[in-house]
Amino acid sequence: MHLAYPAVLSALLFCTGLYGVLARRNAILVLMSVELMLNAVNLNLVAFDVWLSKAAEETLHSGQALTLFTIAIAAAEIGIGLAIVLAVYRNRGTSDIDKLRDTAEGHEPDGPDTDAPATGPAAEKAEATA
């Protein structure tokens, strides 16, 4: 199989993930998009490893080994990420990324669409972290 197929596929996957990370509002979907990007990288690693090992006399298949590492780390990362999202949802009643703006300069209200009860705990949390 020519190298172009997996490379193009992984580029498409990566762009899809990137779009998800930048544009989705739900934190869980953002995490899923991050997984897409990671898997695009994994695909690249495996494809290029195979392509390089064809030319080499002997090889350690380091690309494939690295892929295993990436999968393991991605599993751990998604576990922590989902736990954070769960905790945020329990505290705030929402996992909408647009509304999680505690780090904004000057602790301004989140915007015109924010309702009054949501600002209360946010402001308190900001004070606690300050």
């Binding site: 990370v21 953002v30 990324i97 780090t103 904004a104 300069e105």
Partner: protein, 664 residues
């Protein structure tokens, strides 16, 4: 043990005692008193052994260089001649008496451990000064004494007087120490060594390029340490410290260090006629001025403080007349009787509950309350007034004799004018000394009025120290004037007929005139009631004294002065009394000359710093602050915006790298 080992142990033992006292003071209070008294006593015994072995013969010299220090080497050196051996014994005697006395005087004082340790450190520093054969090592002891006097004078730091006095003592002596240090450097540069023996060798061979400059610079440090005019003002104020500290500072250490230093390096001063003339004028002004001021003081300890300044004036006078034997002789006898005077004054202040002579003159039978202090103080006052056969007579006559020698041109290096100055001032001071000694005695012990309060017997430790010191005050002069020339330079110290008759005569005149004035004024005492006594007369002596000092100003309007018409000093001094009571306004002059300009300078600097420099700093901060505010607006809190910016940046960088790599 060799003499050198013994001599090294003499300053070392009190130092170790001080270190142990400071470390163990809180954890083992039972050891504090032995740790205070025993090392000092041991070093007294060792100093006596060293003196016995040295025996006035050849000077013991020993030196070791710890490490190379650059151009002029600094060595740990000993130089023990007859002067050093005898002065060390005096320091040991007085320090031991003061330590024993303090165990009674500060019986209930919560800060006694640190006090005793500092007194030990002070003693050790003085012994270092006495034995040191290297000027830099001497300076170490000199400065340790300065900082110890700061702590000890400020022992009652709860009172503002003590805080101000300790700062003043420190700053005024440091004012002299800066030229002193420069003088030492100049001397070492000229002589090529800090060793006293080599310096004296260089002086003898005429190798010094600037003897006058060096002598005058060193003289400034000596004037500060030995409380000579015009740097004497710290000493009367230092009376705010506990009485044993006054005894230690005024008798054997600190003030004696300056005189002793000149005595060691006298050939250096003799190399410059100008320095000897300055020394003579300084001594004369100090003697007469301090004696007049002593006659007007109301605080019993301030009378003694001014008397110390005057007696140190005698010593510097003897040095100006080129006779260091007479100077150190007077240093020894004065050390004994002045320590006794101060310690007895402490007992009297405790018994009377006041430090004011005006209040004491309105107490009947004070002398029966403190018979030990009465008798020993009488002995010491007779010695101070130089009445034969007390010790002060012989030493003062040797000073006057030396001045007469110089005046008649029999002394090689001293100018005749210096001799005349010292002789005339010395005789004038002898009158005044007898007068203020008589006044002190009459006011303190011959009071009339209400019965003196009875607080029971004084502690044995305090009375014992008094009697120990009474022996040398009584007999040291008469026994020693024949023996001492063997220890010193060999000059005759026996009193000559002319000066003896003159000196004793004027002293008697001074005493009798004061007695007559007292008979005249004492009737007035009953009409003007005066007298404030301490609030806690049952407390230990240190507490009574601290309260007496603190209450003097509220009660009488000034620390040094009481509006008492029955004071014979007021009648004798006439219109001069007002000025003498405040030390001839020297403090006011210093305030106008130094304190006010410094304060004005400080407020100017404060203005420049707050209003000018800070304005520039704030102005420089404004632009970055605005920029920061602008940049902070990008901080929206939306994570996706940040990632988008990151992506955009990455793309830009990637494109740039590709463009550079392809060479476009």
């Amino acid at each position: 043990m060799t003499t050198t080992t013994l001599a090294v142990l003499v300053p070392l033992l009190p130092f170790l005692g001080a270190a142990a006292g400071l470390l163990l003071g809180r954890t083992a209070p039972g050891f504090v008193r032995p740790l205070a008294v025993l090392p000092t006593l041991a070093s007294l015994v060792l100093a006596a052994l060293v003196a016995a072995r040295q025996g006035g013969g050849r000077a013991v010299d020993a030196a070791t260089e710890l490490t190379p220090t650059g151009s002029v080497p600094i060595e740990l050196a000993l130089h023990i001649d007859g002067f050093a051996a005898l002065v060390a014994v005096l320091v040991g005697v007085v320090a031991t008496c003061v330590q024993i006395y303090s165990t009674g005087y500060l019986r209930d004082d919560p800060r006694y451990p640190s006090y005793a340790a500092l007194v030990s450190l002070f003693t050790s520093a003085m012994l270092l000064v006495v034995y040191s054969g290297d000027l830099m090592v001497l300076l170490v002891g000199w400065e340790i004494m300065g900082i110890c006097s700061y702590f000890l004078v400020g022992h009652y730091w709860e009172t503002p007087e003590a805080r101000a006095a300790s700062l003043k003592a420190f700053l005024v002596t440091k004012l002299g120490d800066v030229p002193f240090l420069i003088g030492l450097f100049a001397l070492a540069t000229d002589a090529g060594s800090f060793r006293i023996t080599k310096v004296l060798g260089a002086v003898a061979s005429g190798a010094l390029d600037h003897p006058t400059l060096i002598a005058l610079l060193l003289l400034a440090g000596v004037a500060g340490k030995s409380a000579q005019f015009p740097l004497h003002t710290w000493l009367p104020d230092a009376m705010a410290g506990p009485t044993p500290v006054s005894a230690l500072i005024h008798a054997a250490t600190m003030v004696a260090a300056g005189v002793y230093f000149i005595a060691r390096l006298l050939p250096l001063f003799e190399a410059s006629q100008a320095a000897m003339a300055v020394l003579a004028v300084m001594a004369a002004v100090t003697m007469v001025g301090s004696a007049l001021a002593a006659l007007a003081q109301d605080d019993i300890k301030r009378v003694l403080a001014y008397s110390t300044i005057g007696q140190l004036g005698y010593m510097t006078g003897a040095l100006a007349a080129g006779d260091r034997g007479a100077a150190v002789f007077h240093l020894l006898t004065h050390g004994a009787f002045k320590a006794l005077l101060f310690l007895a004054a402490g007992v009297i202040i405790h018994a009377a509950g006041t430090n004011s002579l005006a209040a004491m003159s309105r107490m009947r039978n004070l002398r029966d309350r403190v018979p030990d202090a009465y008798w020993t103080m009488t002995v010491a006052l007779l010695a101070l007034a130089a009445i034969p056969p007390f010790s002060g007579f012989f030493s003062k006559e040797s000073v006057l004799g030396a001045a007469e020698h110089a005046a008649t041109g029999h002394t090689e290096h001293a100018p005749g004018a210096a001799g005349w100055t010292v002789l005339v001032a010395g005789l004038l001071t002898a009158v005044l000394t007898a007068a203020y000694a008589m006044r002190l005695w009459l006011l303190a012990f011959r009071g009339r009025g209400a019965e003196a309060p009875d607080h029971g017997r004084q502690p044995v430790a305090m009375n014992a120290a008094l009697w120990v010191l009474a022996i040398p005050s009584l007999a040291l002069g008469g026994l020693a004037f024949r023996l001492l020339p063997d220890w010193f330079d060999g000059g005759d110290l026996a009193p000559t007929l002319t000066t003896s008759v003159l000196g004793t005569g004027v002293a008697l005149v001074g005493g009798i005139v004061t007695y007559a004035a007292w008979r005249h004024t004492t009737a007035l005492a009953a009409r003007v009631p005066l007298g404030a006594v301490a609030a806690h007369p049952e407390g230990d002596a240190a507490l009574v004294e601290a309260e007496a000092i603190a209450s003097h100003k509220p009660a009488y309007g000034d620390v040094a002065y009481a509006p008492d018409p029955s004071d014979p000093g007021r009648l004798l001094l006439g219109p001069l009394h007002r000025h003498a009571a405040v030390g001839f306004h020297l403090d006011a002059v210093y305030t106008a000359l130094f304190v006010r300009p410094v304060r004005a300078g400080a407020s100017l600097v404060r203005f420049l710093d707050r209003e000018v420099v800070d304005t520039y700093v704030r102005g420089a901060g404004t632009l970055p602050r605005w920029l920061g505010a602008a940049v902070r607006r990008a901080q929206t809190g939306n994570v996706q915006t940040y990632v988008s910016a990151l992506l955009a940046g990455t793309v830009v960088l990637a494109v740039a790298v590709v463009l550079v790599a392809t060479g476009a």
